[in-house]
């Protein structure tokens, strides 16, 4: 490995997913270089790019000229899945601490120190919680609403899940499966596996310009994300509890309505051409369909049982065999 000579256990690997919007990669890379040099920290920067946009390529070339062997560019073709890209980057990363950084101005680069310090103090993930700065009131309100909603869905309180700046122990990315847009919710997923996740207030980058208005599709995706987080936090191991519950609610309400209509019919009210009759039938049918989908979920789990391990062992302690100097052997998970 070309870089292995200068890399050591204390090296920090900075992963930066670079997409089409990334217009400041070289500036950010330069800031990282200056800051790390000033702090005397050894690091490597892995730019994970999914685009062949000429502007971005030029930015990456500029960054490469300035940083030499400390920068590696990983070009992914035919992949747009940022979660998969981050996982691939983490596999290549050689540092024991990984910092993820968006390729836009988000938090002041010096704030990374606090995140790294948190990991060195024992946390598994330390994520930046952006404090007031360049963000406008409308943006803050949106962000607060979204984070509160996600916190309720996940059953865990986070102030700023949208921030992409995080420092973590390298084993976190090896164990938390990331796909699609789910790297955004890494703190929730990691906490679910028993990792110690902390948030640290961080000042925003002076040039940060968070968008206030997003496209309607972004809001739709975020709403679906909230639903997904709710589901994966509570029901991935019990799909029938959710789908069966919804199905039972539909089927029972439909049955009650059917019974009421039947009573009316016995009382002499004609039924044949009353559209209201469609509703209870619809409810009962939907109820059973929801139930069937829940059972399908249970079957999937059952067939995959051998691969499912939802616990995480942090250490096994046992007495050392005779002849060992230490009295206790500890293997860490």
């Amino acid at each position: 490995m070309a870089n292995s000579d200068f890399l050591s256990a204390s090296v920090i690997s900075v992963l930066m997913p670079v997409n089409r919007d990334a217009q400041h990669v070289s500036e950010i890379a330069r800031e990282i270089e200056e800051h790390m040099k000033q702090e005397g920290l050894e690091y490597e920067l892995l730019c994970l790019t999914t685009t062949i946009d000429p502007d971005v390529t030029r930015q990456l070339d500029e960054a490469r000229d300035g940083l030499g062997h400390r920068i590696r560019v990983m070009q992914f073709s035919g992949v747009t899945d940022e979660g998969a890209v981050l996982s691939a980057g983490a596999e290549q990363a050689q540092g024991s601490i990984i910092v993820t950084l968006p390729a836009r101005f988000e938090i002041a680069i010096s704030e990374i120190d606090g995140l790294i310090a948190g990991v060195k103090e024992g946390a598994d993930v330390v994520t930046a919680s952006r404090q007031n700065g360049a963000t406008g009131a409308a943006s803050r309100l949106q962000s607060r609403f979204f984070n509160r909603l996600l916190s309720v869905a996940a059953g865990a309180r986070f102030e700023d899940l949208a921030s992409g700046t995080r420092a973590m122990n390298s084993k976190v990315l090896a164990e938390v499966p990331l796909y699609g847009d789910f790297h955004r919710y890494l703190p929730i997923l990691a906490q679910r596996l028993g990792f110690d996740v902390q948030e640290r207030p961080s000042q925003q980058h002076p040039e940060a310009k968070p968008r206030t208005i997003h496209s309607p599709l972004v809001y739709l995706w975020r709403a679906i994300d909230v639903l997904t987080v709710f589901f994966i936090s509570r029901f991935t191991r019990h799909p029938l509890r959710l789908f069966g519950g919804i199905g039972a609610a539909f089927a029972v309400s439909g049955s009650v309505a059917l019974l009421a209509l039947a009573m009316q019919r016995l009382g002499g009210v004609a039924l044949a051409d009353r559209p209201i009759l469609i509703l209870p039938v619809l409810l009962v049918g939907l109820g059973f369909q929801s139930f069937a989908i829940g059972l399908l979920g249970e079957l999937i789990l059952f067939f995959q049982a051998r691969r499912i391990r939802d616990y995480r062992v942090s250490a096994i302690h046992q007495a050392a065999p005779a002849g060992y100097e230490a009295e206790e052997l500890t293997s860490r998970g």
């Binding site: 596996l193 028993g194 990792f195 191991r237 019990h238 029938l240 509890r241 069966g244 044949a272 051409d273 009353r274 559209p275 009759l277 469609i278 039938v281 619809l282 049918g285 939907l286 059973f288 369909q289 139930f291 069937a292 989908i293 059972l295 399908l296 249970e298 079957l299 999937i300 789990l301 059952f302 067939f303 995959q304 049982a305 051998r306 499912i308 391990r309 939802d310 616990y311 995480r312 062992v313 942090s314 250490a315 096994i316 302690h317 046992q318 007495a319 009295e327 206790e328 998970g333």
Partner: protein
């Protein structure tokens, strides 16, 4: 290859700092005279008290002890799953860490394991509160016996002994550990139930509430569905779909014969037919999953050399 032992006793514990010392000492005192190689696998389920420190302090005196630390509190069933995954014994005994199970019963469980795959404890003289523990448990056990036909009086008793090869082939996950007896019966295992002692809790706090009973019943329903239909899922979905199909035909034909065509009944008939079709399609998807999991997920029919 990891070294095996003849017997593994597995105990999940959570905030039991007052009990673990007596528990481990009691187990060692019972197991050492058996003259079998053994290990005590105590899984700490993310305790917030000093349970792990107390256990580590015992390692020097009790070298058979292995202390497994989980990264957070995952719940009893996952802690038990960790214990079963880590245990290396040819025979595995499971029990609670609250000193309500009696280690002195273990030799008797082992004797009964000759000629059986599972020996399940029955706390006939259970020392718990009537309203919160004994009555819900009595109802749940009656229901489980009636629904599943598994002749076990006390599904909730943690004190059980298993043949290692048998328990490892069950591929348990999540809350399925509560229903090992039902799953075991479905694979043709030989189950024996024996009466065991049960002591009142003397230290620490109970972690169970009545809400657990409802979860257990919901999970029981799931397990029963899976044991009935896992080999041919399409049958289950056809069972749901067929009444909808029949109702669709009736809703389409009867009003037409009796009163003539009406848009309302036609709509109802169409919707019912669509529901039936959806159920069949989901069933086909279930069959596809079943087939797709065959190489790694399913084994040949379980059998025993006689």
């Amino acid at each position: 290859m990891e070294q095996t032992v003849e017997l593994s006793v597995t105990v999940p514990v959570y905030n039991e700092e007052e009990n673990v010392r007596a528990l481990v000492a009691g187990l060692a005192a019972v197991l050492r005279p058996l003259e079998r190689s053994f290990e005590l696998v105590v899984v700490d389920d993310g305790s917030s008290d000093e349970t792990v420190s107390v256990l580590r302090g015992l390692l020097e005196d009790i070298p058979e002890l292995r202390v497994v630390e989980l990264s957070r509190n995952f719940g009893q069933t996952l802690a038990l799953q960790a214990a079963l995954d880590i245990a290396r014994g040819e025979i595995i005994v499971t029990m609670d860490g609250d000193l309500q199970n009696d280690p002195a019963d273990i030799p008797m469980l082992l004797e009964n394991l000759d000629g059986a795959d599972v020996v399940s404890g029955w706390r006939r003289n259970r020392q718990d509160t009537l309203v919160l523990r004994k009555f819900p448990s009595w109802v749940a056990n009656r229901l489980i016996r009636a629904v599943t036909g598994v002749p076990i009086h006390d599904q909730g008793c943690s004190l059980k002994a298993y043949r290692g090869e048998f328990i490892r082939q069950l591929d348990l996950y999540g809350d399925m550990h509560r229903f090992i007896a039902i799953l075991a019966m479905a694979t043709g295992a030989r189950i024996v139930e024996v009466e065991v002692n049960h002591h009142p809790r003397t230290a620490g706090e109970s972690k169970y509430g009545i809400s657990r009973t409802f979860k257990v019943l919901a999970d029981l329903f799931t397990i029963q569905m899976l044991t009935w239909f896992r080999t041919q899922p399409i049958r289950f979905f056809a069972l749901i779909g067929t009444p909808f199909l029949l109702a669709s035909v009736l809703a389409g034909v009867l009003p037409w014969i009796l009163t003539g065509w009406t848009p309302v009944w036609t709509s109802i008939s169409l919707f019912l037919a669509l529901t039936a079709g959806a159920c069949i399609l989901v069933g086909m998807l279930g069959e596809t999953l079943n087939e797709a999991s065959a190489p790694q997920g399913r084994r040949s029919a379980p059998f025993r050399e006689c």
